[in-house]
Amino acid sequence: MKPTQQLLPHGRILRYTFHERATHWVAAISYIYLLLTGLAFWSPWLFWIAVLLGGGQISRMLHPWAGLIFTLAVLYMAVLWARQMRMTDTDKAWWRSLREYITNHDERMPPAGRYNAGQKLLFWGFFYCALLLLASGVILWFTEQVPWNLRDLRYAAVLVHPIAALLTIALFMIHIYMSVFAERGAFGSIIHGDVSEKFAQRYHPGWYQEVVRSSEARK
């Protein structure tokens, strides 16, 4: 992303490029499908979801393919964002003032960069869980191909897959809550790509300074 392109007219700032938004939505849509079909296989009380989505057989057939798409999207996100997701000292301070964040005193938070420490946790949580889900998922996909003397792989997979999935569900619920309900403007930014100056100043002051400084340097 070239810095000069980031300050937009009408006090808007470009936060996510089209590239980033598209990657996000490939991951998001495949994840939601995986979540729904996965929950259907998880509990008999939710098996009706699989029925709604075309039946248990179709859900079983498509779930692994959606998983592949999701993993590829997450890996590509790592290419895009891994550098920006590195933990810094500010992040440590951010975690220490988590109470202020939870009680909406964002002005008392240490100045977050493009991503705050919580977003970094979300990213790395999803990244490592996706790897675990892929490894266990491949075993579950081709269970019948796993030879009997390697059956421990199957036993591990049926535990690892739901545990990793549950962890992503925890992250997912917080992610949806923060982006749709808590931070107004966040959901729009992943669709249109831009945020207001106020949004940037309030939630990502470090990033805002950076954007302003680098665009001034260009002038």
């Binding site: 007219p9 009408h10 006090g11 808007r12 259907a40 296989f41 998880w42 509990s43 008999p44 009380w45 098996f47 699989a50 039946g55 248990g56 057989q57 859900s59 079983r60 057939m61 939870i102 009680t103 909406n104 964002d106 579950l140 269970t143 019948e144 009997w148 059956r151 199957r154 036993y155 591990a156 997979a157 049926v158 535990l159 739901p162 545990i163 549950l166 569900i169 925890a170 619920m173 917080i174 809550y177 309900f181 808590a182 931070e183 107004r184 403007g185 207001s196 100056e197 106020k198 309030r202 939630y203």
Partner: protein, 298 residues
Amino acid sequence: MSQATLRIQKMSGHAGPVPGESTQREYTVCKLIDTTTCIGCKACEVACVEWNDLPFGETVFDNTYQTMPDTRWNYWNLIKFDEHEREDGTFMWLMRKDQCMHCAEPGCLAACPADGAIVQYANGIVDFQQDKCIGCGYCLTGCPFNIPKFNPETKRVFKCTLCSDRVSEGLEPACIKACPTGCLHFGSKDDMKELAENRAQQLREHFNFPQAGVYDPPGVGGTGVIYVLHDASKPELYGGLPKDPKVPISVRLWKTPLKWIGNLAMVLGLVGLFGHYLRYGPKEPKEEDQTPKEGEQR
């Protein structure tokens, strides 16, 4: 035995009570396999393929008399041949008819997520309902005996039905009918257990098999197929029959504690987030509500 034996008492992936759950039957059915009188003729293998009208599959020759290494989706009944040298140097030929054990507490049924794809009838038979099977293969993981087999073409799993269709009509399973030596018996579990114990005692007292005994593993709640073995202390000798089969610990952890912890955590998470919204609301500060909208400022 009548059609009433097909009343279902356990059902896979089922939300809520199972019809017939509390059904009390006078007896559960049982197949007794006396490995000491099996001659390895494979009449039971043929009878199984014939009665169930299973498509022909190629056999695999590996320098033994065994038809193929393992049962298949279209070959539910296989005699496992093992050459065994006893401690005194004498040779024994161990032959064990391998098929579904029809566990009282079936691991396949516990692992299955599809509503009603695996059922246990009131007479104890564990049966797969292929129309409801989603082909996930979890039953392969749940079974400690390596019995359910996946058909890659139809993406469904198959195994021995203990000829539930014949049994419901008062007939014995096809393999029993075909056996020429009488090493296969069929009847109530109590009767078969008694017959097996008597035979084991006979082997111990009169045939110099001091370790002879009955295989009815308690780890899966007992089975609907029981064996008389020359040496019940080493069932592994008989084509890898597990000594103390149990539903795998990971399957049990996954299906009970993890399920409840996970469900509780998901519900508490939703309640917690909703509670947070009620208490603190969105992060947008109040004073900004009065200022003009973004875009109108410049």
